[in-house]
Amino acid sequence: MEPVIRVVGLGKSYETAAGLFPALKGVDLEVRPGEFIAIMGPSGSGKSTFMNLLGCLDTPSSGDYFLAGQNVAHMDKDALAVLRNRTLGFVFQGFNLLPRMSLQDNVALPLVYSGADKETRRAAAREMLDKVGLGKYADSLPSRISGGQQQRVAIARALVNKPHLILADEPTGNLDSHTSEEIMALFSELNREGITVVLVTHEQDIAAHAKRQVRFLDGHIVSDQLTEAVPA
């Protein structure tokens, strides 16, 4: 099967006062459909930079990135926006819900940018909120629910355009251990349904939920091993 993600010699450097700083130094990785991967590494290892590139939020300085067969390394901003909208779902550490919108409107927002009509948006947002168990709060504002619930809403938003790939950057970083377990259980469930999940974490017990662990250090991949997933 064609890989969902294939990166070849991916590099990214930043301009700093001290000169060009290479955050990512030629990374090769393949992710096949249905995989559940945890990307680990200490701060400054390049894992977040790598995640931003995978999420089409940033463009690489060198190398190629094939997302679902398409090379996105040299696409323009608007083409990347369309990919972010339809091809993948992104979950952030800080949830990133819009505070003035109801949960339903938050979940429906990606559909607004893909041009769905009002009825479709409402129905799809409802379906996803029900899926993450928050359908009854559809009309509440994000500030009225807990952090764990907000992250569930964010996951519902990532899922609303039915992507085959979910990227999560430290999705449990702002949550307590009990809530973290719940969120990870949700990712495991989505993975069982066939969605490819790639998440960044620096906690071993979070990474333990994944089927494959990739470790970064100083902009390189230093280990890549399959693990036995902990039953949810």
Binding site: K77, A81, R84, R86, N96, V112, Y113, G115
Partner: protein, 407 residues
């Protein structure tokens, strides 16, 4: 992204900080309101002047009997009897002359019953009424035969009629001017004030011959102080005036180098300059009001820039889930345009209300034109787009990762 969804979001964003939105809008409200008021007043003034000019009669000039020098003593204008009725008749023969009326006027005391009143008495011939665009409200005008036989008949203006006759119908009544009885045969239609602010309706018009013999007296029979001439068009004015001048010099046997013994004054030119003055004032008022519109627009830009900075994170989130640059651009542009449109609409109503109030309380003439409202609206929309463009572009060009990191 669909326009309907965007309008809803713009509305939401406007509602999120109501006081700020209202204050931003206030700039536009005042700007558009000022433009509407100033245009209403300026156009009202123009209208009023045009009305006054149209009551004066068009394409008129007057010839005044001039100064003459006797034993080194120079008289002023109209100081001596240098014009006569025959001059007037000769001028009437010139090309492009429509009406010629020799006139003689002065203030005289009128008496009717126990009432008396001082009015401007004009002795003239029937073409005068046509040249000055006088209408007859009731009764009838006098004719050439009245001038020939110097009958004692009079046409009186509305103000004179009210002061002398009160509620009575003046037509057919006999009043006295300088002890001489005159029958009032008609009442003139109202004209209001002239450009100098004098009441044109406080007037008595009588045949020229009667005026000279019974009221004013005259040094030589047939001499007149003033001849009013009406040309057939504004373009012909100067030509007719030149022709009149050379005709009079010839008739008065003035040799080359001898100064004119008459003066000519173009009444149309005076009216034109008055109209020009109000037009200039009107443009000036509009221009000053437009500045406040500009200031209002800058207010919108200012607030939109603040709004973009405040909502950097929101922009980042929107971009992360698939908003394209043009989606963000449209969103912020729409917000600016909505604020300026709403402000414009309120300003329009406020301006109209104030203009109507000015009219109601001061009686000042105002003219409200749809064009002015349309122009104000178009300008407001342009201001919204123009001043909303830069902040919206700034928002659209944000880098998604940096925007997401913004606290």
């Amino acid at each position: 992204m669909m326009l309907k969804a965007m309008l809803g979001e713009a509305w939401l964003a406007m509602g999120a900080n109501r006081l700020r939105t209202a204050l931003t809008m206030l700039g536009m409200v005042i700007g558009v309101g000022a433009v509407v008021i100033m245009m209403a007043i300026g156009q009202g003034a123009q209208y009023a002047v045009q009305q006054t000019i149209s009551t004066m009669g068009s394409n008129l000039f007057i010839v005044l009997s001039g100064s003459f020098t006797a034993a080194g003593v120079r008289s002023g204008s109209a100081g001596g009897p240098t014009l006569n009725v025959a001059d007037a008749e000769a001028i009437a023969e010139l090309d492009g002359v429509v009406n010629v009326a020799p006139t003689h006027q002065g203030r005289r005391q009128l008496v009717y019953g126990s009432q008396n009143w001082s009015a401007n008495v004009i002795g003239t011939t029937p073409p005068y009424l046509e040249a000055r665009a006088w209408t007859i409200a009731s009764g009838a005008a006098f004719g050439d035969s009245d001038v020939r036989s110097a009958t004692r008949v009079a046409l009186i203006g509305k103000t004179t009629a009210q002061n002398l006759f009160g509620d009575e119908n003046p037509v057919g009544k006999t009043m006295r001017i300088q002890q001489n009885p005159f029958i009032v045969i008609g009442v003139l239609g109202s004209k209001g004030q002239n450009l100098d602010g004098n009441d044109q309706d406080d007037t008595v018009i009588i045949p020229l011959t009667t005026a000279q013999r019974k009221v004013f007296g005259t040094p030589f029979l047939g001499s007149v102080r003033m001849i009013m001439v009406q040309a057939d068009s504004a373009d012909n004015m100067q030509r007719v005036m030149d022709a009149t001048s050379s005709l009079l010099r010839q008739r008065h046997r003035l040799r080359e180098g001898v100064p004119d013994d008459f003066f000519m004054r173009n009444l149309a030119a005076a009216a034109e300059s008055e109209a020009e003055t109000t037009r200039t004032m009107s443009i000036l008022l509009g221009a000053i009001a437009s500045i406040s519109l500009l200031v209002g627009g800058i207010g919108i830009m200012n607030i939109m820039l603040v709004s973009v900075t405040e909502r950097t994170r929101e922009i980042g989130i929107r971009m992360a889930i698939g908003a394209r640059q043009k989606d963000i651009l449209t969103q912020f542009l729409l917000e600016a345009v909505m604020i300026s449109f709403a402000g414009c609409l309120l300003g329009l109503f406020l301006g109209l209300a104030i203009a109507l109030a000015i009219n109601a309380f001061t009686g000042m003439v105002i003219v409200i034109s749809g064009t002015a409202a349309l122009v104000a609206f178009a300008v407001a929309a342009t201001v919204g787009i123009f001043f909303g463009w830069y902040p919206a572009r700034k928002a659209a060009q944000l880098d998604p990762i940096e925007a997401l990191r913004y606290q």
